[in-house]
Amino acid sequence: MRLTADPEVEEFRAEFSAFLDANLPSEQEAVPRSKSSADMPEWARRWQRTLFDAGWLLPGQPPEYGGRNATLAQQLAHLEELSRRRIYHSFNPQGLGIIAASLLTFGTEEQKRRWALPILRAEITAALGMSEPGAGSDLAGLRTRAVLAGDHFVVNGQKVWTSGAHDADVLLTFVRTDPEAPKHKGISVLLIPTDTEGVVRRPFGSITGPEDLDFNEVFFTDVRVPRENLVGPLNDGWRVANGSLGHERTMLWISFAERLEDLVRDAASDAEWYATLLMDLQALRLLGYRQLGGDQSPAQISVLKLLGSEAVQHASLHALEERGAEGLVHPAFTAPFNHMNHEPFISSWFERYVRSFAGTIAGGTSEIQRNIIAERILGLPR
């Protein structure tokens, strides 16, 4: 144990920081705003391309995929630096963090060239088709069916909560290819371009307003998908699912640490809940650092996700309650203006509290995280 920083990491951080100072889009450049998690205005595409070319997009990858073979500790410093400045490195976060990352792990060379690279270079955007009306926490119960017919699959079914689908060029879609096999064993993954005949996307508003369009329902009717769009082996999609989400989840705690830091800055108070917030942030960081060097089991990631998401919700609720009736005002400006990240700036305290439920519901609910901790760490019977 030591407090002092690793010089190799600090050098890396300083270099990235200098890069950001020199290359960050200005306030004049950074218009219009991105409207969904797969909507990338021209300036946002240029920004991601700049990061890609300089090896600062996914630093853990080799240079040909937008990185510089950075160590895990350096990757953490990269995300910390972005988070400290409240900058998005991609305005298609799931495209970069989940879809391109999965293709780099499980895809063929051809799939990397044809799909992963364009996503990394922000030439196209991607969305993730996992959840269905009947398959949320029980994701392996998904029923969207794909039947192999010669050189292509025929897909029928429906996805929901498919963030950014209406603005995305391609969907990484989890489908059932063997309905006879046990439910975890009959799943495969297909890349489905959104302009394929039979794909219908319907965005719908979130709790924050009818104009907040990120959620989508996606309907597939006799959609023909070339066989070469299969990612990973046939019927091995569950492994891809765990891999894709695993990659994203390892450092997911940083996004909660970022929210907690926002609250520390925006909701300063002399009430005791504020001290709890300071402690939650410190503890989350410490546990995140510890996990970086050691245990990265899914169950330890569940501890970080549960702690981080519940802490954000707890503090957001107190920040709202402390304002009493003033907390009803909407819209309200609750954070300093940041041209790279409008969300907290334009969110009222009520909205910020409501948005905290994205943390406790999406990506495995708090209830599912508690089950995982109880079963996999404490060994309680399933």
């Binding site: 001290a275 300071l278 650092y289 109880a374």
Partner: protein, 283 residues
């Protein structure tokens, strides 16, 4: 920064665990002699935290905590025999003051070390019969609680909480009702998971406090307050769920659970509760 134990620290943890498990039934004096001989009293802050966590896990009956984390940092040395300190400015509820060979008094004129037999210390009857606390009658006392004392009480409490969780988990795995182990019910699992997360959080903050003391980092005062507050918050969850999950069996004298519950609660109530330390963080 690096927040993992190094190889030596891992070995120490393993050795302490083995020692305290093996020595469980030894008389207090022999335990005390053994700790001295092993050099645990001289351990630097992080290593001391490793020892204290395990002593909390077995509800150690010796005056180790008060000697190593109350007396030593104030006196600047180890006592002849055992020691404690009157450091919160009141002289009330001083850990082990009734049996300490030397007592460090924090006074307006600085720290004064006296023989235990030279001050009046009246042991207070408390709910936990193995816990020694006493009111000390001394003039000119002022507050000066060492960071190490806050950290020490915090990590000891975390150790007791870990024991409560382990016992509760073992119980719900074996207790069958409605033809299944009650640990298969989500209402039970979720309580156990919340206990685990509370312990991980408090444990991390306690070791961070130890590390800031070891490196004399400017954050040490706040880190100690965070550690003490988090340990208090942790025992609240662990006490409530631990006793509840044991059902009536946890409500008996025979069940060892009571020992750890009482230690954990004392860890919050001594030297300022979680609430007091949260307020200290806001000052």
């Amino acid at each position: 920064m690096d927040f993992e134990f190094d190889e030596d620290q891992r070995l120490l943890q393993q050795m302490v665990r083995e020692t305290v498990t093996k020595s469980r039934s030894l008389p207090e004096e022999e335990l005390w002699a053994q700790y001295r001989e092993l050099g645990w009293l001289e351990a630097p802050p992080v290593e001391l935290a490793i020892v204290l966590e395990e002593l909390g896990y077995v509800a150690d009956p010796t005056p180790f905590l008060a000697t190593a984390t109350w007396f030593a940092p104030l006196a600047g040395r180890l006592p002849e025999g055992s020691g404690t300190a009157v450091c919160d400015g009141t002289g009330r509820f001083v850990l082990d003051a009734d049996r300490a060979d030397e007592i460090a008094l924090v006074t307006g004129d600085g720290v004064v070390v006296v023989k235990g037999s030279d001050v009046r210390a009246d042991r207070v009857a408390v709910f936990d019969q193995t816990l020694h606390v006493a009111h000390v009658d001394a003039p000119g006392l002022v507050a000066g609680v060492p960071d190490l004392a806050l950290m020490g009480l915090a990590i000891t409490t975390v150790g007791s909480c870990r024991r409560i969780l382990d016992m509760a988990v073992a119980h719900v795995k074996q207790r069958v009702q409605f033809d299944v182990p009650i640990g298969s019910f989500q209402a039970v699992k979720h309580k156990a998971a919340d206990m685990y997360v509370a312990i991980e959080r408090a444990r991390a903050l306690a070791y961070f406090s130890a590390l800031t003391i070891a490196e004399d980092d400017p954050r040490r005062r706040r880190a100690a307050a965070m550690a003490k507050a988090a340990a208090g918050e942790c025992q609240r969850v662990v006490f409530k769920h631990g006793l509840q999950l044991f059902g009536a069996m946890g409500f008996t004298w025979e069940n060892e659970l009571q020992i750890y519950l009482k230690r954990a609660k004392a860890g919050d109530l001594l030297l300022g509760t979680a609430s007091e330390h949260r307020r200290a963080l806001l000052a």
